[in-house]
């Protein structure tokens, strides 16, 4: 596993502060989305508490608007880092008419955002990996310098689509990054029930590409590794696979009860490796952040999400006729 322990590069403190802020905003937003479900105000929630370093760290390595991004349902942090407003994510949670990703048609956290080259994922596991290979194929044929990153859990790597997509990308040397957020569980099934290997990254070798396992709770390591990998892809040396080891704190989705398959002690142990605490401590130690500034970041995030929830919940619902629109492209 790669972990960096370099001093922060000079002149980059704003970038790291911005990453930190987005990780905090993502956490506050995710916590709130789950709470709204528990209060009966949202039908469904799926969130990524615990994955913030993997999500925000990797997204900060992208050229937003040029690179293609295929997130999966847990990637609140990726979208926040790309600049999607919490208000817009909440419109999706409440299935409102103004939900910019689907107008209330798609499940929450299945984002489409063409300006940022974000393509809605399939709820059906792993189906977006072949899409990523195809997008990267197009980029290559069209001679464009963009890279595609596709996100998924370790559970998705059991599906045929994972293997078919990686193999296809490897054959054609496509500029695509397969980014696995390995949180050790596919709903209730721990990794041992899913695969007979320790590291998903080891699967890459079987297809003739490079795979790297990183500490997914260390935002700086994730950022550096993803940057390097994306650079390689841009130079035509892709595809690559990154496995970010992490842990999810919340149940799988709002329909799950995680006490049925994992201990509170295990959860407790991982909260001690919290990715946000980790970056904060690092920034405090390096003098990039002060306790006061940290307090201000957290308070601002709370305020932002409070206001966004208020406004999004009051936004208008889609009219019933919307159910029949956009079935065929002629319906636009």
């Amino acid at each position: 596993m790669t972990t960096t322990d370099t001093r922060l590069e000079s002149g980059t403190s704003d970038l790291y502060l911005s990453m930190y802020r987005d990780m905090v905003r993502s956490r506050v937003l995710s916590d709130r989305m789950f709470a709204l479900n528990r209060q009966g105000r949202a039908a469904f929630a799926v969130t990524g508490q615990g994955h913030e370093a993997a999500q925000v760290g990797s997204a900060y390595a992208l050229t937003a608007g040029a690179d293609w991004v295929l997130p999966y349902y847990r990637d609140v942090g990726v979208l926040v880092a790309l600049g999607m407003k919490p208000y817009d994510i909440l419109l999706g949670l409440f299935a409102k008419a103004g939900d910019p990703t689907s107008g209330g048609r798609q499940m929450p956290c299945h984002w489409s955002w063409p300006e940022m080259r974000v393509v809605t994922r399939s709820s059906v596991i792993a189906a977006n990996l072949p899409h990523a290979a195809g997008i990267a194929y197009a980029s290559k044929l069209l001679g464009r310098g963009e890279v595609t990153i596709v996100y998924f859990g370790e559970g998705a790597t059991s599906e045929g689509d994972f293997h078919e997509a990686v193999n296809f990308a490897a054959i054609h040397q496509l500029p695509v990054v397969f980014f696995c957020e390995n949180n050790g569980y596919a709903i209730s099934e721990s990794q041992e029930k899913q695969m007979a290997i320790l590291h998903v990254a080891d699967r890459a070798r079987g297809y003739g590409i490079e795979g790297q396992t990183v500490d997914g709770n260390d935002a700086l390591t994730v950022l550096q590794t993803t940057r390097w990998v994306i650079e390689e892809c841009r130079r035509g040396l892709g595809p690559k696979l990154i496995e970010a080891k992490t842990y999810r704190y919340a149940p799988h989705t709002s329909s799950d009860d995680d006490r049925r398959y994992r201990t509170r002690a295990e959860l407790e142990e991982w909260t001690r490796k919290d990715p946000i605490d980790r970056l904060r401590n690092r920034l405090l130690a390096d003098g990039v952040l002060t306790p006061d500034a940290d307090g201000a970041i957290r308070a601002a995030a709370q305020r932002e999400i409070d206001e966004a929830v208020e406004a999004a919940e009051r936004a208008p619902d889609p009219p019933d006729d919307d159910a029949f629109r956009y079935v065929f492209a002629e319906d636009a």
Binding site: K96, R105, Q106, M107, E159, I187, F324
Partner: protein
């Protein structure tokens, strides 16, 4: 007779099979410690052990494919595919393999496999989690398609599925798991291909199955208050289909409405309508009507989803239209 839920009825059949037939084993995603996405196998891992209750990776094709292999080798597997939506990742194994190995091997190798999956909409799970694709499976010769609508049927039909020498697709409706009904404690069977007259009536036949049976029944009860007596048929299995039972009812009422959650275009209601007009045209006083889901991917927002699904009011207005002056 004890009153139990649809979920509990399915559990009883599975427990009965695990206890009484050592060839039976279960496999699927999250069916072990978790007890299944719909809590159908809760506690089974502790009771029957890991060899008989197997968690699988998220890999539907190998789950069904390995089930086919184990069945060919003499075991009696039951595979759970979570939902009909994910069965699409195993459709090659089901349609190209399970359904025709017997035929292609000149009757030498059969595949006695039970494939359970939850289907249906109405729970705000969006376009990819809300399919009613039973008509696709019913379309394929060589597999049987079971669509229970009550706890009694769920247990009795699942028992019959395990007796069957073919692959059986057993589709449970997500909205019915908590519904209750009387269920005998013994290992009774409900035969395939025999519909149930769920409510007798003389004015119009309402044909339903799985979730739509209940909508048809509620519509019939409302129409009764206005003097229209609808006969409600519970199909129980789509393949084999009880054609005689359908025709007998239509010959009595001379009118029929078929209700299904599925899309109208190319759906199973169209098949039933075709059978009726082919075989009972002279008995009909009106065209056979279909009350189906709208031809759209299922939207997520609650109101949009209801707008896309068949509703009782729609059944009643279609029924009244063909009953005409009768009431």
């Amino acid at each position: 007779m004890p009153e139990i839920t649809y979920r509990e009825a399915i559990r009883q059949a599975l427990r009965y099979q695990l206890q009484n037939d050592e060839r039976v084993f279960l496999m699927g995603e999250d069916i072990g410690a978790y007890g299944g996405s719909y809590a159908v196998t809760k506690g089974f891992l502790d009771e029957f052990g890991e060899h008989r209750v197997k968690d699988t990776p998220i890999a539907e094709s190998v789950v069904v494919g390995a089930g086919i292999g184990a069945a060919m080798a003499g075991l009696k597997p039951m595979v759970e595919l979570m939902t009909i939506n994910f069965s699409l990742l195993a459709i090659d194994q089901i349609v190209n393999n399970a359904s025709k190995l017997y035929y292609m091997s000149n009757g030498q190798i059969n595949v006695p496999l039970v494939i359970r999956m939850a289907g249906g909409a109405g729970s705000q799970l969006g376009a990819q989690h809300s399919h009613s694709l039973e008509s696709w499976y019913a379309h394929v010769p060589g597999i049987k398609v079971v669509v229970p609508s009550t706890p009694y049927d769920a247990k009795g039909l699942l028992m019959t599925a395990f007796d069957d020498e073919n692959t059986v697709i057993f589709i449970e409706h997500t909205a019915l798991y908590a519904s209750k009904g009387e269920v005998p404690e013994d290992g009774y069977r409900v035969p395939f291909g025999k519909l149930q007259v769920f409510r007798p009536g003389a004015d119009v036949t309402l044909i339903g199955y799985s979730g739509s049976l209940h909508q048809a029944f509620r519509a019939a009860e409302r129409m009764a208050q206005e003097g229209i007596e609808a006969e409600v048929l519970n199909l129980r299995t789509l393949r084999p289909l009880d054609v005689d039972g359908i025709l007998a009812s239509v010959r009595k009422t001379h009118r029929a409405v078929v209700i299904e959650d599925d899309w109208k275009f190319g759906g199973f209601a169209g098949e039933i309508a075709a059978i009726i007009q082919e075989q009972a045209f002279d008995d009909l006083d009106a065209p056979v009507m279909r009350c189906s889901g709208s031809d759209v991917p299922m939207p997520y927002a609650a109101a949009l989803e209801q707008a896309a699904l068949p509703q009782e009011d729609g059944i009643i207005s279609l029924a009244k239209r063909i009953v005409g002056g009768r009431a």
